[in-house]
C-alpha cells in the first residue's frame, strides 16, 4: 500500500480534479459518487451541458471536482470541446480522471490519446466493466496500465464499485505533477509534429508545444491564430506540412491525424483485449422491436402517450386527495380579517395550496416516468425513429430529446438544445421547445379545459399544439439563416433503469422546481393581493381591455393573469381562483372562453425563467424576437379561435 502523500494544505489553492471522457460513459455517475452531489443521470449522450462542480471530502482534504461535458475530440466542433480543452490546458487541474467505457475501449482510447497530447496528469477510470463482461470482452488491466503508462482503475461507478480505489489513486498522485508519457504516431506524422513542436518550444504559448504542433497540423483555427500572432513563420511551415500530408493521403490533415490516433488506439486495444463469445445482446433484441418500421412507431406512441396519460390519471388522483386533506384548513379563510392578514392568508396560503395541489401531483409522476425512459436509453431510439420527420422541420432526430424533456419543464429542455450541432439548429430547437406545453401549462389546460369543458377539448389542444410545432418549425427552418447537419448519434445499450437513479433524479428535479415554484406562488399571489388592495388591478386590466375583451372575448380580469403568467404559467389559474374567489371556473367563464384562455396561455412565451435561459443561450436579440413573435401570435390565434369556436358551442 503506497503511502498517501499529503496534498496542498489549506492555505494553498484547493486541489482540483476534472472528470473528462466521451459522452455517456458514466462521468456523471463517477462525479455523483465522489461528491455526493446529484448531477442528472440518463442514458443518452449529451446530458451534462454546463460543467458541474462539487466537493470531495477525503481525510480532512477538500477537493474541487469538475465534471466536464462528454466529448469525442478536442477539435473546434462544438463549444463543449473548446471549453474542455481550455480548462485542461490552461487551468491545469491537478488530476484529470479520464472516464472510459470499458466496452468500447478503442473509441475511448482515441480521446485518451488526446488527453495525453494535452499533457494532462491522467488516471484512467475504466468504467462499466460489468457491461463489458456481458459483451464477452476481457481487458488485461495491468497490461493497459503498462502500455499507456497511466494508472488504470476498473470500476462500476453507478454501484460505487471502484470509487474508493479511485479516490486513493487521486490522493496518491495529486501531489506529484508528472509529465504523462508521450505517445508516438506513425513516422510521416510524427516527424512533422516533432519539427513544429521543436520550433514552438522556443516561443511562449500557454499550451503544451507538442499538442499545439498537432493542432497546427490539423489546421485548428484558434491555435493557428494564436501562434500566427507570435511567430507567423511557424504557421507557414505547419501549413506546408499539412499540405504535404494531404497530398500523400488525399484526405484533410485533421482526418489523417484522427486516423493516426485511431491506429494507435486500435493497436493498444488489440494488445490488451480478448474476446469471448457473447450471443445476441438483449439490446439487439429490444431494438428489433424499438426500431421496427411499424411496431417501433406504436411503441413510441405507447410510451410517450403513456407518459402523458399516466401523468394525468395519477396527477388527478393525488390532486383530489390533497384537496380533500387541505380543504378543512382552507375553510378557515372567511374567519380571517384585517388587511394584512387578508394578504397573508388569501394570498400566500392560497398560493401554497395551489402549488401543492396543482403542480406537485402532475409534476412528480411525470418526472418519475421520464427518468425511467431516460435511464433506459429509449430516448435515443425515439430519435432514430423520428429522424425523418424532424428533417421536415430542419432538425434531426436528436431534437426530439429536448422536445420531450420540454413536456416536463422548458428550462432544462432549452439547455438540452445544446446537443444540436449548428447554431441554427440550436435556436430552431429551442424555439420549438418553448411551444411545448410544460407541466405548468398542462396544469392550466387541465384545470380550465379538461375540468370544465371536456377532456377531449384538452386533448385537441395538445394535438393542435403538435401541429403548430410542425408548421412553425417548417416556416422557421426556411426563415432562419444558417447551416443544418444531419443526425450523428451514438446508440447506447439499454439499461434496466435503477430505482435508485430514478428516484434520485425525480427528487433532484422536483427539488429544484420546488425552490422556484413555491416562492413564486406564495410571493406572486401575495403581491397580487396587494395590487388588488391598492386598486391597480383595474388599471392594468383596463389597459389590456381592447385585447382581452375586444379581441379575445375574455373577461377583463384576465389581463392581469396574462401578465402574471409571464412569471409562471400556473399563476394564471391560481389567480383566476383568487380574483373570482372560486375554483369552479365554469361559473365565471363560458366553455369558449376557457378554451381560448388555455390556448393563449399555452402559446405566449413559457415564462420568465425560459426567457432568461434563452437569453443566456442565444443573446437578447433572438430572445426578443421569439418572445415578441410568440406573444403576438398567441393573441392573433386566440382571437381567431374565439370566433371559430363560437360555431361549435
Amino acid at each position: 500500500m503506497p503511502e498517501i502523500v499529503p496534498v496542498s494544505d489549506n492555505l494553498a489553492r484547493p486541489m482540483v480534479i476534472a472528470l473528462a471522457g466521451n459522452a455517456n460513459v458514466g462521468k456523471s455517475a463517477v462525479f455523483n459518487q465522489l461528491t455526493g452531489v446529484d448531477q442528472i443521470l440518463g442514458n443518452w449522450p449529451g446530458k451534462t451541458v454546463e460543467r458541474a462542480e462539487g466537493t470531495l471530502q477525503y481525510k480532512g482534504h477538500r477537493i474541487r471536482v469538475i465534471d466536464l461535458p462528454g466529448i469525442y475530440s478536442f477539435s473546434t466542433y462544438s463549444m463543449e470541446e473548446m471549453v474542455s480543452r481550455d480548462f485542461i490546458a490552461l487551468e491545469k487541474p491537478d488530476i484529470v480522471v479520464d472516464v472510459v467505457d470499458a466496452s468500447s475501449l478503442e473509441r475511448n482510447l482515441f480521446f485518451t490519446l488526446q488527453l495525453l497530447e494535452l499533457e494532462a496528469p491522467l488516471i484512467l477510470a475504466l468504467n462499466q466493466i460489468d457491461l463489458m463482461a456481458k459483451r464477452g470482452i476481457c481487458i488485461d488491466y495491468e497490461k493497459l496500465e503498462r502500455t499507456l503508462g497511466v494508472p488504470v482503475v476498473p470500476m462500476v461507478a453507478i454501484r460505487g464499485k471502484g470509487i474508493s480505489e479511485l479516490t486513493e489513486q487521486i490522493m496518491r498522485l495529486a501531489g506529484q505533477r508528472r509529465k504523462p508519457p508521450e505517445i508516438k504516431y506513425g513516422r510521416e506524422v510524427e516527424q512533422r509534429i516533432q519539427e513544429i513542436a521543436g520550433r514552438l518550444g522556443k516561443i511562449k504559448i500557454d499550451y503544451p508545444s507538442r499538442w499545439a504542433a498537432i493542432k497546427l497540423l490539423e489546421r485548428d483555427e484558434r491555435i493557428t491564430k494564436l501562434v500566427a500572432e507570435i511567430d507567423d513563420s511557424i504557421v507557414q511551415a505547419a501549413v506546408a506540412m499539412a499540405e504535404e500530408l494531404e497530398k500523400i493521403h488525399g484526405e484533410s490533415s485533421s482526418v489523417v491525424i484522427s486516423a493516426e490516433r485511431y491506429h494507435v488506439a486500435e493497436e493498444i486495444a488489440r494488445r490488451v483485449q480478448s474476446f469471448g463469445n457473447a450471443g445476441r445482446s438483449p439490446t439487439d433484441r429490444l431494438d428489433e422491436i424499438a426500431l421496427h418500421p411499424v411496431i417501433g412507431y406504436f411503441a413510441i406512441l405507447g410510451v410517450v402517450g403513456g407518459l402523458l396519460v399516466w401523468t394525468f390519471i395519477i396527477g388527478d388522483r393525488i390532486s383530489e386527495l390533497l384537496i380533500e386533506i387541505l380543504s378543512p384548513i382552507e375553510q378557515l379563510e372567511p374567519m380571517v380579517s384585517g388587511p394584512l392578514e387578508d394578504i397573508l392568508w388569501n394570498g400566500a396560503f392560497a398560493g401554497f395550496v395551489a402549488g401543492l395541489t396543482l403542480v406537485i401531483p402532475y409534476v412528480v409522476p411525470f418526472y418519475i416516468i421520464l427518468a425511467v425512459i431516460e435511464d433506459s436509453g429509449y430516448l435515443t431510439r425515439i430519435s432514430v425513429m423520428l429522424d425523418r420527420g424532424m428533417h421536415k422541420i430542419g432538425l434531426h432526430g436528436k431534437a426530439i430529446i429536448p422536445l420531450i424533456l420540454g413536456y416536463g419543464c422548458n428550462v432544462p429542455a432549452c439547455f438540452g438544445c445544446r446537443i444540436m450541432e449548428t447554431p441554427k439548429q440550436k435556436v430552431l430547437a429551442a424555439f420549438l421547445v418553448t411551444l411545448v406545453p410544460c407541466t405548468a401549462r398542462t396544469v392550466v389546460i387541465l384545470g380550465l379545459v379538461a375540468a370544465f369543458v371536456s377532456i377531449w377539448w384538452a386533448m385537441a389542444l395538445y394535438v393542435f399544439d403538435i401541429a403548430l410545432i410542425i408548421l412553425l418549425g417548417r416556416i422557421a427552418f426556411k426563415v432562419v439563416p444558417g447551416e443544418s447537419v444531419g443526425l450523428i448519434m451514438e446508440m447506447p445499450d439499454y439499461h434496466v433503469p435503477s430505482a435508485k437513479v430514478v428516484l434520485k433524479q425525480t427528487w433532484a428535479r422536483t427539488k429544484s422546481l420546488l425552490w422556484v415554484v413555491f416562492p413564486a406562488y406564495i410571493i406572486g399571489s401575495a403581491v397580487l393581493q396587494v395590487i388588488y388592495a391598492a386598486g391597480w388591478l383595474d388599471l392594468a386590466n383596463d389597459a389590456l381591455r381592447p385585447i382581452t375583451v375586444g379581441w379575445l372575448g375574455l373577461p377583463s380580469a384576465v389581463g392581469i393573469l396574462l401578465i402574471f403568467g409571464l412569471v409562471r404559467k400556473e399563476l394564471t389559474i391560481l389567480m383566476l381562483a383568487v380574483i373570482f374567489q372560486t375554483t369552479n371556473f365554469a361559473s365565471i367563464m363560458s366553455p369558449v372562453q376557457l378554451i381560448v384562455l388555455a390556448l393563449v396561455t399555452m402559446i405566449y412565451v413559457p415564462c420568465l425563467a425560459v426567457i432568461l435561459c434563452l437569453a443566456k443561450e442565444f443573446g437578447w436579440k433572438k430572445t426578443a424576437a421569439i418572445t415578441i413573435f410568440e406573444v403576438s401570435f398567441a393573441i392573433l390565434l386566440g382571437g381567431v379561435a374565439f370566433r371559430l369556436l363560437l360555431i361549435f358551442f
Binding site: 466542433y77 482526418v255 432526430g397
Partner: protein, 238 residues
C-alpha cells in the same frame, strides 16, 4: 453500334433492373420505344462487348464493366442536371431531356470539371444520388482544392464502391471515401469512421430514415443523407 445508343441501352437496363436484377427485353423495348426484336439484337452485341450478360427470354443483366459505365453515364447525367438547373437556370421541366442529349458527348474530364465547379454535389435536382468519380481520392475536398491537372492523371483505377446505404443489414464493408462538409467529416472520423476502417451495417429504417452501423465496437445512428455520402468497398455478407 454508335456510342450514344450503347449508353442509352445501358442506362435503360440500369434503371429498369437496378443493381443486381435483370431487365426484361419487353421493358427495355417499351422504354426506348423500339421493337423487341431489335432490342434483343442490341443485347447480343452488348453481351459481345462484355457489358451485359444476356439470357434469351429473360433479359439482360449488367456486368461489372457495364455497371461501372452505367454509373459513369448517370453521374454525368445528374451532374449536367445540376449544372443546367443551378448555373444556367434552365426550366426544371426541360433539364432531364437536355441532360439526356448532352451526357453522351461529355468527356470524363469535362464531367469532373463540372463536378468541381459545383462543389461536388451529392444529388441531382430530382434527389437522386450522384455517384463519385473513380479517381483514387478519399475525400472530395482534395479534388476541390487541387487545381493542377497532374494528380488527375494519377490513377483511373476501378474501385467497386457503393454508398453505405446500399448495404444489406449484417453486411460488412471498408470505408473508402467520405463526402460532406468539413465539419461532418471531422465528426465522423472522430467517432472512428476513418478511411479504411471496417464497418457493419446493422439496421436500416424505412423511407430514408437513419441507418444504424457498428464501427470499432460502438453503435452509431447516422441520418440518411450523411450515410449516403459514406462510400465503402462492400464485402460479402457476414
Amino acid at each position: 453500334m454508335p456510342k450514344e445508343q450503347v449508353e442509352e441501352y445501358i442506362e435503360a437496363i440500369f434503371d429498369i433492373a437496378g443493381k443486381n436484377g435483370t431487365a426484361k427485353t419487353t421493358d427495355v423495348a417499351k422504354r426506348l420505344q423500339n421493337a423487341p426484336a431489335s432490342v434483343t439484337e442490341v443485347f447480343r452485341s452488348l453481351a459481345d462487348s462484355g457489358l451485359v450478360r444476356y439470357e434469351p427470354y429473360r433479359g439482360a443483366t449488367l456486368t461489372e464493366k457495364g455497371l461501372s459505365s452505367a454509373r459513369k453515364i448517370k453521374r454525368k447525367h445528374r451532374l449536367l442536371e445540376v449544372f443546367l438547373a443551378k448555373i444556367l437556370r434552365i426550366d426544371p421541366q426541360k433539364i432531364h431531356e437536355e441532360a439526356c442529349k448532352m451526357e453522351h458527348s461529355l468527356s470524363d474530364e469535362v464531367g469532373d470539371a463540372i463536378c468541381k465547379m459545383l462543389n461536388a454535389p451529392a444529388r441531382c435536382p430530382g434527389g437522386k444520388l450522384i455517384y463519385p468519380c473513380d479517381k483514387m481520392i478519399a475525400t472530395c475536398n482534395e479534388c476541390l482544392k487541387a487545381n493542377d491537372a497532374a494528380d488527375k492523371a494519377a490513377s483511373v483505377m476501378q474501385r467497386k464502391i457503393v454508398p453505405i446505404t446500399d448495404l444489406k443489414p449484417g453486411q460488412k464493408g471498408i470505408i473508402a471515401l467520405l463526402r460532406g462538409s468539413k465539419k461532418v467529416i471531422q465528426r465522423l472520423s472522430d467517432l472512428g469512421l476513418t478511411p479504411r476502417t471496417e464497418v457493419i451495417l446493422m439496421r436500416k429504417t424505412p423511407l430514408g430514415g437513419p441507418i444504424e452501423l457498428c464501427v470499432r465496437r460502438t453503435t452509431l445512428a447516422l441520418g440518411y443523407e450523411i450515410a449516403d455520402n459514406i462510400f465503402i468497398e462492400a464485402q460479402k455478407d457476414a
